[in-house]
């Protein structure tokens, strides 16, 4: 989707900043460096954290947690790619880790949903602000 916007953006930038600058940006957009991925990962992480902290529905909180995990995965993959470019010896470790994280996240989701169901059966709610058992 980003790629479809690029010509439009390129056009707009061309008008604003000139061709050299546009060429640079075009190159940067087609060859994103590590920082782009890290920024996106950070944004995802912050969105996830915000979701965890603000949403009342426990399902949504789970989904936010998935976002956090995926932010981490993105970082793993980004570093993997970065290391591949710089020719490091163990560049695939990040990707493997990502696979692990996805598996663990799937398991966690399964267990978490089971817990949610059990919780609902007992408390008849999935709103976390109504569940203050940690106080006791």
């Amino acid at each position: 989707m980003l790629n479809s916007f690029i010509p439009i953006l390129a056009f707009l930038f061309q008008e604003v900043v000139g061709n050299d600058r546009l060429a640079q940006m075009k190159h940067a957009a087609t060859h994103p460096d590590l920082s782009k991925f890290l920024v996106i990962g950070a944004l995802l992480f912050i969105i996830g954290v915000a979701g965890v902290l603000t949403r009342r529905n426990i399902i949504v909180i789970f989904m936010s947690i998935e976002l956090i995990l995926n932010a981490a995965n993105l970082n793993f993959v980004a570093f993997s790619r970065y290391l591949q470019e710089t020719g490091s010896v163990n560049a695939l470790a990040g990707q493997i880790f990502t696979v692990f994280v996805i598996v663990v996240a799937a398991a966690e989701a399964a267990i978490g949903l089971g817990i949610v169901i059990a919780l609902y059966r007992n408390k008849e709610t999935i709103w976390v602000d109504e569940i203050d058992l940690l106080k006791w």
């Binding site: 965890v52 902290l53 603000t54 909180i61 976390v128 058992l133 940690l134």
Partner: protein, 857 residues
Amino acid sequence: MYKYIWLVPLLPLLGAAINGLLGRKLRFSETVIGGIAVGSVALAFLISVVAVYSYGFGSHAQWPNPYLTSQDGFSFNWIPGGAVSINQGLHERSAVEAQKQAAERFAAMTPEERAQYQGVFVAGNTSPRYALLNIEWSYQLDPLSSIFMLVVTGVGLCIFIFATGYMHGETGFYRFFAYMGLFMFAMLVLVMGSNFLMMFVGWEGVGLCSYLLIGYYFDRQEAANASRKAFITNRVGDFGFALAIFGIIAVFGSAQYTEVFDQARAFPREPLGQWGVLSWIALGLFIGACGKSAQLPLHVWLPDAMAGPTPVSALIHAATMVTAGLYMVTRTNVIFQHSQTMLLVVALVGAATAIFAATIGITQNDIKKVLAYSTVSQLGFMFMACGVGAFVIAIFHVMTHAFFKALMFLGAGSVIHGMHHEQDMRRMGGLKKYMPYTYWTFFAGWLAICGIIPFSGFWSKDEILWNAASTTQIPLGWLIWLVGTIAAICTAFYMTRLMAMTFWGRERFLEAHAGGEADEAHASAYDKGLAPHDAVHPAAGDRPRHQPGEHVGPVHEDVAHHVTTHGHADEDHGHHHGAHIPHESPPSMWVPLVVLAILATIGGFVGVGPAFNFITGAEHPGGRLNIVNWLNPIIWDPATGDFKHAEGGHGEAAESHESAPVAASEHGSAPISHGFNLAHAVDNVVHSHLLTEWIFIIISLIAAGIGILLGFLFYVWRPALPNIWAQRLRPLYHASYNKYWVDEFYGWAITRRTMDAARAVFTFDFKIVDGIVNGLATVSRGFSRVVGGVDKYFVDGLVNTIGAFIVRLMSPLLRAAQTGLTQNYALVMVLGLMIAVAAFFARDIATALRNMFAAIM
């Protein structure tokens, strides 16, 4: 050979240890236990005989000098003491002698000891005031201890053999012989020790064994009480004895006999009424002797001691232990003879005891009680002899009395055994037919104790009476002679009564309820609500071996048929004869009786008196075999101020006062003569010394005859007379029957007072001492309540106020933090993380911000 005498006490101890420690665990049979006990005593007897023979008659005979095992190294340093102050002993001796002795001791010291005592011995040049007290455990063989060794082991052997038969079937068979062996050990230590402390150890040892054996049937209240009574009464005497030993050590600086007597003989004699140091020592010793030998104020335990088994009564309470007092008095005769006052006291107490116990013996119905009072009476005779200065004769009477009284006690045991534990003479009678051995041996004992001429009792008792009449040592000899003669009449009377009621006359055991009235013990048991045992009253004798409720006494035939279960532990009891026909005892019982009977018959010939010198040709015939000659070297002679000369029958001093006061006065040896002397008076009339002696012999024989004839008159020829005379002399009869109420008096005067005192002390303890303690507790409780209040209201209040304030202040904040909502915690975590990251990258962030501002500006 006699250096092995240390084995003599050791062997019975060994036997006792084997029996006592292993007998139960290994379940020894009676044969094994009896074999060990009898064997050890027999071996001890054998060694004693050999030792005494070689001491007196062997090729290296040391008689009359005392032999100590320490001479051959058979001793050990028992109580290594230190320097003791001797304030008096050495001062009384000449200063030269004292210096010499001190110098000798100093020379004999090791260098270390010398360094330690140098100052004492060298500085005290003129009169040494210190001696080395060093008490060693060594046995002494001398004329006196040799006689006691022979009597104790010899008579003891007979009694041990008897006891194997008598105690057959007892559950505590091993225990009995362990105690008996222990007793033999203690008694032998007593008589064989070479110093006062060994004597004291033996003294207490025999007291302990006496206690254990009286209380042999410890599950019976009467036996337990009797054993405690014996022990406590003896404590009174032992107190005096212990004080006397302290006095001896303080005065003489030694406890060794040889040393003490060597010093004591140099002391001046203390005449009548003067209480010098030796009188006080002698008083303490005599109090001890009174306790052990059951003399008048302290006699009460001996009759009660009959609650023990009969062999115990024979061994301990007739033949050996009760003569320990005589042994001690004779051993210390140097001290006693130095105090005329104490001699008189001894004689008077002895005479009083003799007549007192003899009159009680007349009315007792329990066969063992009669013999017990007879023993007390005979011990009184012996003390009488000591008191008039005839110590040798006292020991002579100890010996003969050991023979005939052990014989009679064992005979009584045989009768009790044969009568199935019947002790009441009123239910006996006619036993002559059923128990011939017992009867004829008892017959010999009867003649001996009555004092019929060839029997042993005559020789010693007659000598006692003669010495009492002729004494020059103390005044009032005639009174003592008179009392002794009356006591002798009583003795003959009650022994004849015993013979008649037991062996002669109607066979009352065949008659139902022949005894009629119950014994006082029976009655007292009844009063106390105890179930009195049928026929065998529990107080005065052996454990009834019958089943409770079983009729054991004289029975009709129909009653006998009902008695189907016969609870004898003893198989041959009761089964072979229907009703309780008495039976003769087994050979293990009558053989010792025969041996003792022979001794009781001929035992007196070792002391044939000077009155028979027209037959024997000598004052004391037989040389050393005569007991007077044998013992004289240990007797201090006030006439010469030294020990008597050894060679009996020949030395002039040996005869000086023992036999012939008239001769002594002729020798001019200055006897102390006070007032009326009976022998002198008679002598002045008949003008013949020999005739005088014979007059007294005939008087004593007549006394015995009167007693015997009265006994026959009352109990054989005219059996109705006793009741008539008991009615006529009712107060006297009651006084005698109730033993002059001495027990009741002691109970009132001492036991009750002691209990009152104990109660008062208890009250003091309860009210005052406990009151103080409890008061302190109350005070401290009040104090603690105050402190508690301060703590509670002030300290706690302070803490609570401040604490509550802080808590009240902080709690809303803290409570607000704890929402219980997961998201809040997560938020805090995120914030914390952010703060941490910010802190970690603070510098970078600051730089970035600065750059940003710079870029903007």
